[in-house]
Amino acid sequence: MSKNAIIAGLAAFVIAALFPIWFNFGGTDAAPEPELSAKAKAAGKCVLDKYDMRANHMSLLDEWRDGVVRDADRKYDAANGKQFQMSLSTGEDSCLGCHEDKEKFCDKCHTYASVDPYCWECHTTPKEINQ
């Protein structure tokens, strides 16, 4: 009978097709939490609230870059009342001014999500300079 062979083949196919699901089941690490520096914790508020920042920081950086380079605007008054220097890596009120450790903050999620932004090809981190 070919019935058994078909069912066995189907079962083998389903198992093979669902390989990524069952292979990772239970075995994966939890998504990493970016570590906030003492300074960032003390500041309390970022440019946008936490979830907005998590989802949209790349758009914000893009907007900042165009603002700085094209319009020479460098001061950002956020909707939550805080002021920032529109810069990724230079100055006290820049992103890196507060989130001092790129490895513990940016890289944690980027590595986990296999995202490899090329920011750091040009922008420098204090750690890198002082090493």
């Binding site: 094209r70 009342g81 040009c122």
Partner: protein, 274 residues
Amino acid sequence: MKKSRRSFLKAAGVSALGIGVAPAIQAVASSGSTPAAHATKTKHPEALTAERWGMVIDTSKITDEIAENIVHACRKAHNVPDLNHVPDEERYPNTRPVNHDQELKWIWEEHFESAFPDKEDEFLAERFKELPFLVTCNHCKNAPCVQACPTQATFKREDGIVLMDFHRCIGCRFCMAACPFGARSFNFRDPRPFIDEINPDFPTRSKGVVEKCNLCSERLAKGLQPACAEVSEGAIVVGDLEDPNSEVRALLSEKYSIRRKQELGTEPSVYYIM
């Protein structure tokens, strides 16, 4: 329950009207409340601004020493790599050997006949043959590099500065071909190993990107004079060419000045007082 066609159409009409009107009612209702705060982007209050930035270089005040200081200050301020710098073995292992014919320059020294090839003369005053002439991007009014750039990475800012958005540069080098002053350099390789001491206040560039003088737009934004003007001991003055009361205009109206390759019609914004 039995519904006539008539009552069904009535009910459908009313609900359609409701759906159509609801957003309008919501809009009217919300307009009365306070609007959400919006983020704003502004310049720093101390930022220096101009209608059209220009530079005046007093050639009589520039000595070899001052010229060297200026070039050095610029390199340092913008992390301009020096390919003669020997890379740190530990930090950058296996760096390929360098082609020393390559140079990256934002402002550099040139002899008179190279800076002003159209004005070269057999009987040129002796002193001009020896003087160091500092040349840089001329931030032309009609910048050919801006027209050549296919990605708008090079653009003319409202205040006359011809600026680059390094993020957008695709390294096609059309701008280098278009620039009649050779003011642009290309990063044929990662510049970082060739920077002696990285300045944290300015990013470096990456491989495959063109770079040039940005008239220290990052310093102007903080209310500082460009790095070259700062260390020039008065030889370089940067100011507003369109403002009749500015220092640059006073200098230009007082003394005879020339510009590089004026016949090309690019309208350079860098003037040389002779």
